[in-house]
Amino acid sequence: MRGRSAVIVVLLFVVAVVVQTTLFAQINLVTPDLVLLLVIILCLTKIRPEAILAIAFTSGLVVDLLGPSALGLRAVVYTTVAYIGIRTRDRADIGRVAVALWAGVLTLIGVILLMLIGTLFGQSSLLGENTLSRLILVPLANLAIAAAVAPLVVRLVDRDKTAFRYP
């Protein structure tokens, strides 16, 4: 990952964390997990796979440090989602709808993992009151946002205007 791409990635994550913890924290109807979505979209870029895992881990740690849950919970979940994302990203390359569905499925895996690991480490109550509705709403919101912004983010990070241009 080159210097300019790294700066873009850091800026994107800062914006994601701030928007997630301010705007979407107050609107109950729309509840995406922007940081997780950004991790998933980064899997589609040309960034080295190990670097993507490191970015996923670090961004998860930052969210853990800001929230009340155990340090490392989201780091583990985001890293696992990134690993699955890297392994399956070729399936998402076929079109905008495929990217959106792929991002939605990966988000669903992330939310389930968060609940499972959170429960194992006694963090289930800290994850919020409406955990079951989050199982549906978060993947759907991420799916919609991925359809809109994933190609744009990939082009921005890779600085490749031809990336993800579908006929």
Binding site: V14, V17, V18, V19, T21, T22, L23, A25, Q26, I27, N28, L29, L44, T45, K46, R48, P49, E50, L53, A54, F57, G60, L61, V62, V63, L65, L66, G67, P68, S69, A70, L71, G72, L73, A75, V76, T79, T80, Y83, I86, R89, D90, D93, I117, T119, F121, G122, S124, S125, L126, L127, G128, E129, N130, T131, L132, V154, D158, A163, F164
Partner: protein, 305 residues
């Protein structure tokens, strides 16, 4: 299709990060968020809080507008009922002012000492939310310390301060806190604990002598080490009778953390240092720093909520 690098080191990197993550979780759970982890949390929060504060200036009106649009049908009725409530409250206020004036006169006549019993209060704006916890724009500079109780503008219990920086604090609500609150229902003392996937809380009275009834008010008990006595917490949802001297019931907290914009942080105990000496078992760590303007005491209480 994009050409991307493939790597043989992907799986080892993934496993290493997983192991590190699980180790961190284990350490954090064992340390209960204190020590190095607490310092890291405060550090991260002090970096992100100014950004959240700036963003909330733009976001709050947008969120309010969004809320208004989704509730537009009920706003008119709500307005009428609120006006009626306001008129009633103003009438009550006049009555209370009369009684206060009478009380002041009687105190003057009998030469009573009227020490101010009110607690120090810090009013704070909610600037962000992470999972169930929320971030407010007041910190140690405003006298906020870890463990202090937080209420909403109606006086209902919200939670406790979890971490604090110079200009912000993270508050964990009672509905998601790790431990329980000691509460009073009528004359019986019990413990209120959060439950998974619901805002309802579980009331457990160990030495129950009488049933609790639907609608009974639940308030903080004098036995609580994290909250002053008498703060309203919630209401009992269903009747419950004692079984083998113990009783369990569901309680709906009064506070709705989703709609909180402003909270009040109570300076309680009024003097944490004295409280620490009085009851060393309840307070695990206390540090005092003196600044030009004020003395700020940071204490980590045995967290109830």
């Amino acid at each position: 299709m994009l050409s991307r690098e493939s790597s043989n080191r992907l799986l080892p990197t993934f496993i290493t990060l997983l192991v590190v993550g699980v180790l961190l979780m284990t350490i954090d759970v064992r340390l209960e968020g204190k020590g190095v982890v607490g310092v890291l949390r405060s550090g991260t929060q002090s970096i992100v809080a100014p950004l959240q504060e700036a963003a909330s200036l733009v976001v709050n009106p947008v969120a309010d507008m969004f809320d208004s649009l989704t509730n537009v049908a009920s706003l008119r009725e709500q307005n009428i009922s609120l006006r009626a409530e306001l008129a009633e409250a103003q009438a009550e206020l006049v009555g209370v002012q009369d009684r206060l004036a009478l009380l002041a006169l009687l105190e003057q006549l009998y030469g009573l000492d009227t020490a101010d019993p009110s607690l120090g209060q810090t009013v704070a704006n909610v600037i962000g939310k992470v999972e169930s916890a929320f971030v407010v724009d007041k910190g140690t500079n405003d006298g906020v310390v870890v463990g202090q109780p937080v209420i909403d503008t109606n006086g209902y219990v919200v939670g406790t301060v979890r971490t604090v920086t110079s200009g912000s604090a993270t508050i964990v609500p009672i509905t998601t806190g790790r431990n329980g609150i000691t509460v009073l229902v009528n004359v019986q003392v019990g413990t209120l604990t959060p439950q998974v996937n619901t805002s309802e809380m579980r009331l457990l009275i160990g030495d129950a002598r009488e049933p609790v009834l639907e609608g009974d008010r639940v308030v903080t008990s004098a036995g609580s080490i994290s909250y002053p006595a008498g703060l309203p917490v919630g209401v009992v949802l269903h009747d419950a009778a004692p079984e083998s001297h113990s009783l369990t019931a569901s309680v709906e907290p009064y506070v709705n953390t989703d709609t909180l914009r402003i909270v009040v942080i109570l300076a309680w105990p009024p003097d944490p240092v004295t409280a620490a000496t009085d009851d060393a078992g309840d307070v695990e760590e206390t540090t005092t720093t003196t600044t030009d303007a004020s003395t700020t005491t940071t204490s980590t209480l045995e967290n109830e909520g």
